[in-house]
C-alpha cells in the first residue's frame, strides 16, 4: 500500500503543469425543484484517478452523468480537453451544442454503469466490436482482434461467443469495461460499478479496475462506496455533500485525517 501511495503522488506531480483534461466551472444541476448540484468547480488532470464519495443523493453520479452527456447541466460549463462540452461556437457566439458537437467531444469519454447495460442481443465479442466498427470506423478485423485482446485482459477470453445473459454479474461488468476500453477513451467514468454485484463478485471487478489504473495514461473518475479501494487506487478523493465539494485531497488526507464533521459521520456509517 505505501508503495502505491508513493507511485500516485509521483504521478500527480508529473501531471501538475499540464492542462486539465476535464474542467467543471460553477456547474449547477437541478431536477425540477430539487437542486442536486450547487456550483461544482473541479479540474481533473490527464491520467488522474479521482474517487467521488458521499451519501446517496449528494450528486456524485450526476457529476459523471453530465460529463457523459446523459444529463444536461442547468448552468455552468464543462470543458473536455479544451472544448466546451455543452456549448459550441457559432458565429462568434456560444450556443447550445448540437448532436454533432456532442459526439465529437463525447468521443474522449467512456463509461461503465452500475447495471452493466450490455447489449443482450449481441455476443460479448459483438458487444465490444460494434462501437469501434460503427462509430470509429475501424476495420472489422482489427476491431475484432483488439476486442478479443481486451476480453482476454479482463479474463474472459474463453467467453467471447457467449451472450450476456450467460454470464455472472462480475463477468458482465468486466465485459462492460472491455467494451468501454476498446474505444480508447481519455477519460473513463465508473458509476458505482460494484453496487449491483453479489459481495463475492466485487473483488474480481475491482481487480480489473486496479489493473487499468496501473497502466496510468487514462483519467478515471470513480463514483464508489468502496472506501478501501478508493484509498488504494485514487490520487484524489472528493467528498460530496448537499451538491457541493465538501472536502478533497489525497486519500489519506480525506479518509484518515480530515476533521470535516459530515465526512466523519459518513465514514463512520461505512466503517460499522
Amino acid at each position: 500500500m505505501t508503495e502505491s501511495v508513493k507511485e500516485k503522488s509521483h504521478q500527480h506531480q508529473t501531471n501538475h503543469d499540464t492542462k486539465p483534461i476535464v474542467e467543471y466551472n460553477n456547474v449547477h444541476k437541478s431536477f425540477g425543484d430539487v437542486n442536486v448540484l450547487n456550483g461544482i468547480n473541479l479540474d481533473i488532470m490527464p491520467g488522474e484517478k479521482v474517487a467521488l464519495i458521499g451519501p446517496s443523493g449528494s450528486g456524485k453520479t450526476t457529476i459523471i452523468r453530465m460529463l457523459m452527456t446523459l444529463e444536461q447541466p442547468t448552468s455552468g460549463e464543462i470543458i473536455v480537453d479544451g472544448q466546451n462540452l455543452w456549448h459550441m461556437e457559432k458565429n462568434g457566439k456560444l450556443v447550445p451544442a448540437n448532436e454533432k458537437h456532442l459526439r465529437e467531444v463525447r468521443g474522449n469519454i467512456g463509461m461503465v454503469f452500475q447495471h452493466f447495460n450490455l447489449f443482450p442481443h449481441m455476443t460479448i465479442l459483438q458487444n465490444c466490436m460494434t462501437a469501434p466498427i460503427h462509430v470509429q470506423k475501424e476495420d472489422k478485423e482489427s476491431a475484432k482482434k483488439r476486442s478479443i485482446e481486451m476480453l482476454e485482459k479482463v479474463g474472459l477470453g474463453d467467453k467471447i461467443d457467449n451472450y450476456p445473459s450467460q454470464l455472472s454479474g462480475g463477468q458482465k461488468q468486466r465485459v462492460a469495461m472491455a467494451r468501454a476500453l476498446v474505444m480508447r477513451p481519455k477519460i473513463m467514468l465508473f458509476d458505482e460499478v460494484t453496487s449491483a454485484l453479489d459481495p463475492e463478485l466485487v473483488g474480481e471487478v475491482l481487480e480489473v479496475i486496479r489493473d487499468i489504473a496501473r497502466e496510468g495514461e487514462m483519467a478515471m473518475v470513480l463514483v464508489t462506496h468502496e472506501m478501501d479501494f478508493a484509498l488504494d487506487i485514487a490520487d484524489r478523493v472528493i467528498f460530496l455533500d448537499n451538491g457541493v465539494i465538501a472536502e478533497q485531497g489525497s486519500p489519506t488526507e480525506v479518509l484518515e485525517k480530515s476533521d470535516n464533521e459530515r465526512l466523519q459521520q459518513f465514514l463512520h456509517r461505512f466503517r460499522n
Binding site: M111, F116, F119, H121, A131, N162, R179
Partner: protein
Amino acid sequence: MNWKWDMFFEAFPIILEGIGVTIGLTFACYLFALLFGFVWTLLRRIKFKPVNWLVTWIMEFIRSTPPLVQLFFIFYAWPMVPGIGVTLSPFTSAILGLGIHFSTYIGEVYRSGIEGVEKGQWEASTALNFSTTQKWTKIILPQAIPPTIPMLGNYLIIMFKEVPLASTIGVVGILSLAETYGANNFRYLEAYTIVAIIFLVLSYPSAILINKLEKKMNRRFHKKAALQESKGAVI
C-alpha cells in the same frame, strides 16, 4: 330451405375465385398499416406538447370510430369535400380506410416494443457514441421488434377478418362473390357457409402458427442462455 351439396360444389370454385382479392387486400392493408404505424410512433415521440396532444387525439379518434364508417367516408364522402376531395377506386379506398384504422393499433404495438427496451440501453449507446440512427438500427429496434412479432401477427389475422367490410364499397372478394351467387340462385346458405369455411381454414392455422411463433420468441429472447447451456456451452 334445405342444404344442397350440388349447389355447394358448384358455388365453391366461383366464390374461391375471390380469394386472391381478399388475401391481396389483406396484405396491402397490412403493409400500409405497418408503415403508417411507424409514422404514428415517430409522431408520438415528438416532445412538443401541442403536437403530441394533437397526434394522440387523432389516433384516439380513428380508433373510436368504426372502420366501416371510415370506409364509407373515404369512398363516398371524401370525393365531395371541396378542394381536397378525390375519387378513389374501391380497392384503394379499402387500403386507405382499413390501413389507417389498423395503423393506429400497430403504432401502439411498436410503442410498447420500444418502451420495453431498458433505459440503460440508450445510455450505453450514448456512452459508446453511436449516432441517433445507429442507436435505433443497431441497438434499440433489434431489441424492440422481436417481442412485438406475435402481436403484429395477431393483427394480420384480425385484419384478414375485417377485409370483407370492403365488399360494401364494391371490392370483389369472396364475400361479394358469395353475395352475388346467393342472390342469383337463391342459395345463400351454401354460399355463406363456403365463405365461413374459407376464412376458418385460413385463419385458424395462422393463429396456431402465431401462437407457436410467440412461444418460440419468448424462449429465444428470454432464455437464449438456457438453450445454449443445454447444448453444452457452459459458463
